[in-house]
Amino acid sequence: MKITKKTNVAIIGTGKIGIDLLYKINRSENLKCVLVSGRSAASDGLMIAQKLGVPTSDHGIDAVLEHENIDIIFDATSAAAHLKHWQLIEKTGIGMIDMTPSKLGKSVVPAVNIEEAKSTQHVNMISCGGQSSIPIINAISSVVNEIDYVELVSSISSKSAGSATRVNLDEYIDNTERAILDFSKSKRSKVILILNPAEPPVNMQTSISFKINNPPMDLIVEAVRRQVTSVKKYVPGYDLLFEPKQVDDNRVVVMLKVTGAGDYLPKYAGNLDIINCAAVAVAEVMAGSIKLLNQSVGN
């Protein structure tokens, strides 16, 4: 039996994203969470981390800087806080996976460009909407000549949107719109986010509309089905709700449903699941290369 040493990771931010990540990291064969650091000793998130037997701190980024044995950090705070965190971390050579829509760092969507995670110290996970839609947008982009416009509408349960998400709505939209353009041929993009308070809570739902002249529907359907299979490898609850369909002359619609694993929040919170599953997939790839990066920084 081959025994590999696990890569040490830390989480900053003890909100919904941070704690759900912890559950997922604990299941990883390659990653070990050695620190969860927040700003309030009384936060629910820190208490959950303690119950799970993970070392905690309420000193935020400082605790990470003082720790001597961390290879990768997940930043689950806010876009504004991330700017400061990255300034402090960059020179240390520690890998940084940014869960906030800060626009810094290399955007990675595992189904599309996971290889990029090997050669960068700083990855940005875009947004939950970006992680759910970009695999499909990229797949369709690869089988058509031109896309005039892509529109993404995500509805998520209010309960799954923590305070940082609520403050960062503008950044979420801006960062996701940019990433859609970066990962496709589309000339324009628009992103809409709806928070629905319905009880029982609604599953995360994503609708993507494309403006494509004479869309080759057979190719599109095949490409989308194939991509859903790839995404399911790292996000088991990722499913097509509405197969690509041409509605009107030049509009193609695809709908997806993301059911969560039910780790920290119940299964409706697919938005937490998709970005966190993607981040863990990125960390596992980074883990193999981060030590090399560290050595080169050290030299």
Partner: protein, 336 residues
């Protein structure tokens, strides 16, 4: 007693014509509204700034085109916009709208989600413009929750908070209960935005004022989403009869109605069978055109779509679910 009427014609009315409002009509109506002494006139896409989309409908003219021509034709009447975080952002939409010269921002959030608007409200205040909060689909929760959310708007600095009956689902008793509770619990003004799905728009607006509302929304000829809004010229007449001051000239607002009838109101809003169902099901009025289209495409009953949407507690902005529900109803039909 005094009440401020906000005219939503050139915004909510845009729902009635699938957001195809023409620049010429904006110019003509702005001039007429100015003459009538309308306090504030809302202009733009039916779902507000930044909302032009496949999801809720593509605008014929961009926000900046509509706002610029309105700006050029309004002096005393305030130029207002509706904006919902999640659709619009400060950088892409709100900032440019204020650059054009918008005077009043009506910041809408679903009635349980006021906190997503904090940054946008503070931004508007920072730029020395007026801002009021709008709690959309306010029939969906009780008075305690509404007050809790309204207090957030108050804390962020909004000058007032309006309850939106976006689905036209309120009965006068509901208005009385919720408006009086908010009036008692808040330091800022309270308002009401009616829809007419159950024929209650004027009655509900009157009850709102009787229980302390200071801001009432209307649209000329009721020109608004679904069964339309409270008919503005009727509100003016009724308030005049009740000796409530609106600052609006009755004859001139009636002239506005004539102008609208002869230009952009091709078909006055009607309480259609689907609108009645929409009101009963508590579904956003702006869905009606999309539901009718999907019903036709899938060969299913629009009324069934509305009731199913109601069961799922959909809110404004979830228009994509209409297609999914229509497809599901069709599958059920085949199975039976």
């Amino acid at each position: 007693m005094k009440v401020t009427l906000h005219d939503a014609t050139l915004r909510d009315g845009n729902h009635a014509i699938q957001h195809q409002l023409d620049c010429q009509d904006v110019i003509a109506y702005c001039k007429a509204a100015e003459l009538a002494g309308i306090s504030a006139l809302e202009v733009g896409h039916g779902n507000g700034l930044g909302a032009s989309s496949f999801q809720v409908g593509l605008s014929k003219h961009s926000d900046s085109e509509l706002l610029s021509i309105a700006r050029n034709n309004l002096q005393k009447t305030k130029l207002a916009v509706h904006m919902m975080p999640g659709f619009a952002t400060i950088a892409r939409d709100l900032g440019p709208a204020l650059d054009i010269g918008v005077d009043l921002v009506r910041l809408g959030a679903h009635c349980t989600e006021a906190d997503i608007s904090e940054r946008h409200i503070r931004y508007v205040i920072g730029r020395n413009r007026e801002v009021v909060g709008s709690l959309m689909m306010s029939h969906m929760v009780g008075k305690h929750k509404l007050l809790e959310e309204a207090k957030k708007f108050q804390e962020y600095g909004a000058l007032g908070v309006s309850l939106y009956d976006s689905a036209g689902a309120y009965l006068p008793e509901d208005v009385k209960e919720k408006i009086s509770y908010l009036v008692n619990g808040l330091e800022i003004d309270v308002g009401f935005h009616a829809h007419n799905n159950l024929g209650m728009a004027i009655a509900n607006s009157v009850v709102a004022v009787q229980y302390g509302a200071k801001m009432i929304d209307g649209a000329i000829m009721g020109f608004g989403a679904g069964a339309g809004n409270a008919q503005l010229e009727v509100l003016v007449a009724v308030f005049e009869k009740m000796e409530i001051e609106t600052g609006i000239d009755l004859y001139k607002v009636l002239d506005c109605a004539r102008l609208a009838a002869n230009s952009f109101v091709k078909k006055a809003p009607l309480i259609s069978p689907t609108s009645i169902v929409s009101g009963l099901a508590g579904v956003f009025s702006g869905f009606s055109k999309h539901v009718e289209k999907a019903a036709q495409q899938y060969g299913v009953d629009a009324r069934d779509i509305f009731f199913e949407l109601g069961k799922r507690k959909v809110i404004g902005g979830q228009e994509d679910l209409i297609l999914e529900v229509a497809a599901q109803l069709k599958r059920n039909l085949k199975r039976n």
